[in-house]
């Protein structure tokens, strides 16, 4: 089970790195979205997988009688999902605004902040 998921996570990372290497903003953002999901799956798998055991504690005991799924990675993933979702939403709006103002979604052509023809500093006093 862990092995299968590990291969899937590897595929996710491959796809996301490939997309992030693109110079077009939309592909980059898709890559980031997939990267976020790959990380979430990775944390989930790192916590080891346990199948379908209800986390119930019998009346006379203080701890579960059999091993149940590890709840901590699920809490971590929940946190990370919320964060990556909100960041992706922000970046989508930012990319759209940048497209509106700069007229391009090609990272190579975004040279407003760092103009290509910038003057060199004065060379002599």
């Amino acid at each position: 089970m862990e092995t299968g998921l590990s291969i899937l996570i590897g595929l996710f990372f491959t796809v996301s790195v490939y997309l992030m290497l693109s110079k077009e903003l939309v592909r980059m953002l898709l890559g980031i979205a997939i990267l976020g999901n790959a990380v979430n799956l990775l944390i989930f798998t790192a916590g080891r997988l346990t199948r379908e055991v209800p986390p119930l504690i019998p009346e006379e005991l203080y701890t579960p009688a059999v091993q149940t799924a590890n709840p901590l990675p699920q809490a971590l993933v929940l946190t990370a999902i919320v964060i990556s979702f909100s960041f992706l939403a922000f970046l989508l709006v930012l990319a759209f605004r940048a497209y509106q103002e700069l007229g391009t979604d090609d990272a190579n052509e975004m040279r407003v902040a760092e103009p290509a023809d910038e003057q060199a500093p004065p060379q002599g006093y």
């Binding site: 992030m20 903003l25 980059m28 953002l29 980031i32 990267l35 976020g36 990380v39 990775l42 944390i43 798998t45 790192a46 916590g47 080891r48 504690i57 203080y62 901590l72 990675p73 971590l76 946190t79 990370a80 964060i83 990556s84 909100s86 960041f87 922000f90 970046l91 930012l94 990319a95 605004r97 940048a98 103002e101 700069l102 990272a107 975004m110 040279r111 407003v112 902040a113 760092e114 910038e118 003057q119 060199a120 500093p121 004065p122 006093y125």
Partner: protein
């Protein structure tokens, strides 16, 4: 369970003793700024009240941090656990000399920026949330400096990152959107790398508490160094992106000159140093074996960072971009300290971080004043500022000497410590590059000073004449501009002339992470 709970001994899992009043100070920096940020957010349409609320909470933040620093210096490392769950189950906040020192200096700088921002941020900027974002940024920064849980550190990183996005796009200019795209995407990838490494670390050790991790890694150090080195390499890349180390530093000069100058000042002071702090925390406290294993690599990265920063500064003709590259050069010096890794070297790196937080913020603030006086950030269009205000020219020269590492200012002592530590470790190249980057920084600063201050006017002015068309100091007159620069310059001079106190504090901070026993004891209560 409710019926039988009387017989349960909860002291196995939970702290039963009430937290002493003074220990509440550990969470005070995060809570105060969160509260202040929410208040500012609710009143954001009231542009007159915004700076007042912001300043009040910044003063409270500085007071809380100073109180916490005094307590830590008096009693040693202190810990508080959330929800009373004992570590390693509950999230712990641990204040040690390293975290609290940086947190205190950061809060002083943020107070100065809040004051400076009241003069440079217009009503639109206030309405769109400069003060809420600044306060929430400080929530993230304080939390990152004080937490003792590595996943929690990630969360604080994200808190400060989303606030910094808000500050960066405040104003919506074209260059800002361009810079924000690069800053936003690369920093998000950096935090995702941090999260990957944390997930793998959790999979390996089953714990996220830093003290617990430090103990478990030390016990395992020889067993699985290969896997650990992979995780350490991921951490190195993630924090290098955050700290703007070569070769993943190009987002910094692409973005730091685009927002309002008050925002640039805060960013230059705080954000990269949080990355350096995380690097020290993770590599020296958690993974000392991997740090030693990768020391040569870190030293190479440090040297490349210093040289790319210093030479980038020489190649720029715009004051804010020169300063952006100088931030990078400083990061290289701190990484050099991490590469050497002795107590002296880490002390030097922490002292350098303190110095760099203060001096880079002050330099950006001074650049804002240069813009107000001379009407431009470009060296070709500046000139005659010395005649307009000799006092301001002197202040800029003090800050410039400090950032170059010249005595008697605050940049000198950390450089001495770092060079000494590098020589002691046999890393002569590293020591040489630290000195060389200081020399190149002096050239870059000297160039700003000659062109913007010393000559009579902008390019085209004949030698010996002057075309001062500059608003004299009196007309700029707002104390909100001068006071922050004055406070920070005073700190620079004070740490330069009287370094003993800061030297003691940083060496306590460094020995606290190099020898983590005190840290572990504080979290686990003397185990």
């Amino acid at each position: 369970m409710a019926g039988s709970s009387v017989s349960v001994d909860i002291s196995q899992a939970m702290a039963v003793a009430p937290v002493s009043a003074g220990d509440w100070l550990i969470v005070a920096p995060s809570i105060l700024t969160l509260l202040g940020g929410s208040l500012c957010l609710m009143t954001r349409k009231n542009t007159q009240a915004q700076p007042k609320i912001g300043l009040i909470f910044m003063v409270l933040l500085v007071a809380a941090n100073i109180g916490l620093l005094a307590r830590v210096l008096d009693k040693g490392v202190i810990t508080m656990v959330m929800g009373n769950w004992l570590p390693p189950f509950g999230i712990a906040f641990t204040a040690d000399a390293l975290g609290v020192t940086l947190s205190t200096i950061a809060s002083i700088v943020a107070l100065c920026a809040a004051l400076y921002g009241s003069a440079t941020i217009d009503n639109t900027g206030r309405r769109y949330g400069f003060y809420p974002f600044l306060l929430l940024l400080m929530t993230g920064v304080s939390g990152a400096f004080l937490t003792a849980d590595i996943f929690n550190l990630y969360v604080w990183f994200e808190v400060l990152l989303i606030s910094s996005y808000g500050l960066l796009v405040l104003g919506n200019d074209r260059p800002q959107l361009d810079g924000s795209v690069k800053y936003g995407i690369l920093n998000l990838i950096g935090t995702n790398l941090f999260l990957i490494a944390t997930g793998l670390l959790y999979g390996m050790f089953g714990t996220l508490n830093m003290a617990d991790l430090a103990t478990k890694v030390a016990a395992l150090e020889n067993g699985a160094s290969g896997t650990l080195a992979t995780i350490a390499a991921l951490y190195l890349l993630a924090f290098a992106m955050k700290a703007a180390a070569f070769p993943v530093n190009f987002w910094l000069p692409a973005s730091y000159h685009t927002p309002n100058i008050a925002v640039s000042a805060v960013f230059a002071g705080l954000l990269t140093k949080v990355g350096v702090y995380a690097l020290i925390r993770v590599f020296v406290l958690l993974l000392p074996g991997s740090r030693a294993y990768m020391a040569d690599l870190i030293a190479l990265v440090a040297m490349a960072t210093m040289m790319s920063g210093a030479m980038g500064a020489l190649a720029q003709g715009e004051v804010r971009r020169i300063l952006g590259y100088l931030v990078i050069a400083g990061i290289g010096s701190m990484l050099g300290g991490v590469a050497v890794g002795s107590t002296l070297a880490i002390s030097g790196a922490i002292f350098y971080a303190v110095h760099s937080i203060i001096v880079m913020t002050a330099l950006y603030m001074a650049a804002g004043v240069m813009m107000l006086m001379g009407g431009s950030y470009r060296l070709r269009e500046l000139g005659g500022l010395y005649q307009a205000s000799p006092a301001f020219a002197a202040v800029f020269l003090v800050l410039g000497f400090a950032v170059s590492g010249l005595p008697p200012f605050s940049g000198f002592w950390p450089k001495v410590m770092l060079v000494d530590a590098a020589l002691g470790d046999g890393r002569y190249w590293l020591a040489g590059v630290i000195l060389l980057s200081g020399f190149l920084t002096t050239l870059a600063i000297g160039r700003i000073w000659i062109f913007a201050f010393w000559r009579g006017g902008p390019e085209g002015t004949a030698d010996g004449t002057s075309t001062v068309r500059i608003s004299p100091i009196g007309q700029l007159g707002s104390a909100a501009l001068w006071l922050p620069i004055g406070i920070l310059t005073a700190l620079v001079v004070y740490f330069g002339l009287q370094p003993e106190w800061m030297l003691q504090v940083v060496s306590r901070g460094a020995s606290g992470v190099v020898e983590p026993l005190g840290y572990v004891r504080s979290v686990f209560g003397g185990l």
